[in-house]
């Protein structure tokens, strides 16, 4: 960049650095009073930039509140992945419902409620069906003909199971949270390098003993 910097380069830098749209007036005020370009010159600089960037990935656009550089709208599919926020987590009720369907399929909502002890949220079932993890495989021949829910192949694929037999036996699951809680506790206590060794030791021993006792 030369010693004598062109107005449109300065405007370019300012518009790119700015965290807000800027009007011609605001742009001109960023120049020292001595060498302040007039409105026409700023306007000409903007037109130059709009021309320079017309085929680029960013463009100089005029919004209600001023000029701004903006990513070309065709690039949405790629750029929007940048801020793929970490997806929200499913609720515990969601996971419970899914796991009960997995183990008890085909099952009606009423039966899930009987196991969970609380009503099944309609939204949960809807979400599960939308995600194609469960589907209605039939209707139970009881009054009301409730839908029978079962898991899908997509469900198995997602969890890397070749069949439902790959699900661990329920007897193992019962004490799972205790084992998990203990693991977490151990992990919190342990520091840095030793933690790995300890974690391995813990996972090899304690939970197994517990599971043996439980089964």
């Amino acid at each position: 960049m030369s010693e004598d910097i062109a107005i449109y380069h300065i405007v370019e830098g300012i518009l790119f650095a700015a965290d807000r749209p800027l009007t011609v007036k605001q742009l001109s005020e960023l120049f020292d009073e001595g060498g302040r370009p007039d409105t026409k010159e700023i306007q000409a600089a903007i037109e130059q930039l709009q021309y320079d960037y017309k085929d680029r990935g960013v463009q100089c656009v005029k919004l209600a509140s001023g000029y701004v550089f903006r990513v070309h709208e065709d690039l949405g599919p790629w750029v929007s992945k940048l801020w793929d926020e970490k997806p929200a987590k499913y609720s515990r009720a969601f996971l419970e419902t899914l796991s009960i369907i997995a183990y008890r399929q085909p099952i009606t909502r009423g039966e899930i409620e009987a196991i969970r002890g609380v009503a099944v949220n309609t939204q949960i079932v809807k979400t599960l069906i939308e995600r194609n993890w469960i589907r209605v495989v039939g209707h139970k021949d009881v009054p009301g003909k409730p839908a029978l829910l079962a898991t899908t192949k997509d469900f198995l694929d997602y969890f890397n199971l070749s069949s439902l037999e790959g699900l661990p036996p329920l007897s193992e699951i019962k004490d799972l949270d205790e084992a998990a809680a203990q693991l977490e506790q151990e992990a919190a206590i342990e520091e840095q390098t030793q933690s790995e060794i300890t974690l391995t030791a813990v996972s090899d021993e304690e939970p197994t003993d517990q599971l043996d006792a439980a089964s």
Binding site: G13, F16, A17, D19, V58, V68, F69, R70, V71, E73, G76, V79, S80, D84, E85, P87, A88, Y90, R92, L95, E96, L98, S99, I100, A102, Y103, R104, Q105, P106, I115, R116, R131, V137, G138, H139, K140, D141, V142, K145, A147, L148, A150, T151, Y158, F159, N160, S163, L164, E165, L167, P168, P169, L170, S171, I173, K174, D175, L176, D177, A180
Partner: protein, 269 residues
């Protein structure tokens, strides 16, 4: 402290240059006392002060006239003391070091000792001064590098309002099992015999059968059995059919003895 007082005091130090008492204050000391305090405070330790003295007098760092520099150094340190500037202990340590070097340089050169083994008493000080000067310069160079917020700026362009695809949440398998385990904890565990593992295969087969058959059309009974699942698979499928029949979810139709059996899901109407 007036300028005159300052000068008097400095004369008391008998600052010597080339063996002669300094008739006048060094040029760099002709600064108003207020500024002097600020000036003295800018020194970042004894090496910095020494370097200043050396540079001010245009002396080659490799050939420091140790006596002269020592005297000037002491004069400055005394001034700092008098102005009750917070004087780091390092300044006094350096004064002692300088004095030691000075006295060693006064010792007559022993003609007996091997000249090559004799190290210039100033060598270590010169090394430290050079090293410090090197980083003093490096700090200035670092300050000159284009840096964010002063010379250069991060660019973050806005985007049109795209319809953002909402990513689906991830589910960890263990997490799901944990949820189930908690659910099971909540219910009477005696009921858990209803969901024994043994049933799983049958239940899976039930789901399979329900999926394979239709409400409005009959499916060939024999087509429901998958030979690739083996004998156990066939049995499980059969058990599943019986279970579905018992739960009135399917109906079986046979036109006559030994005729093909057909299966149909019971309509939900």
């Amino acid at each position: 402290m007036t300028e005159q007082a300052l000068q008097d005091e400095l004369v008391d130090f008998q600052v010597l240059v080339k063996g002669q008492p300094l008739a006048e204050l060094p040029k760099d000391l002709y600064i108003p006392p207020d500024a002097l305090e600020v000036f003295l405070e800018t020194f970042h330790g004894p090496l910095d002060l020494l370097l200043y003295l050396i540079r001010k007098h245009n002396i080659d760092i490799l050939d420091i006239p140790i006596a002269e520099i020592t005297n000037q150094y002491i004069a400055y340190v005394e001034m700092m003391k008098d102005m009750q500037l917070e004087l780091a202990a390092e300044y006094l340590v350096m004064a002692a070091t300088l004095a030691e070097i000075k006295s060693r340089m006064l010792l007559p050169r022993s003609s007996e000792s091997d000249d090559e083994d004799e190290i210039d008493p100033r060598a270590e000080l010169i090394r430290r001064l050079q090293l410090y000067e090197q980083f003093k310069q490096a700090a200035l160079d670092l300050d000159d590098l284009p840096r964010v917020g002063r010379d250069t700026f991060d660019v973050v362009s806005g985007t049109p309002d795209w319809e953002k695809e909402k990513p689906l949440p991830d589910v960890d398998f263990q997490e799901m099992l944990l949820a189930l385990s908690q659910a099971l904890k909540r219910v009477d565990m005696t009921e858990s015999h209803l969901i024994e593992r043994e049933e799983l295969t049958v239940r899976e087969a039930m789901a399979y059968v329900l999926d394979a058959i239709k409400v409005d059309d009959f499916t060939d009974f024999s087509k429901l059995f998958r030979p690739e699942t083996g004998r156990a698979g066939v049995i499980v499928t059969f058990l599943a059919l019986l279970e579905l029949l018992r739960e009135q979810m399917i109906e079986l139709v046979q036109a006559g003895p030994f005729a093909p059996i057909h299966v149909r899901a019971i309509s939900d109407e």
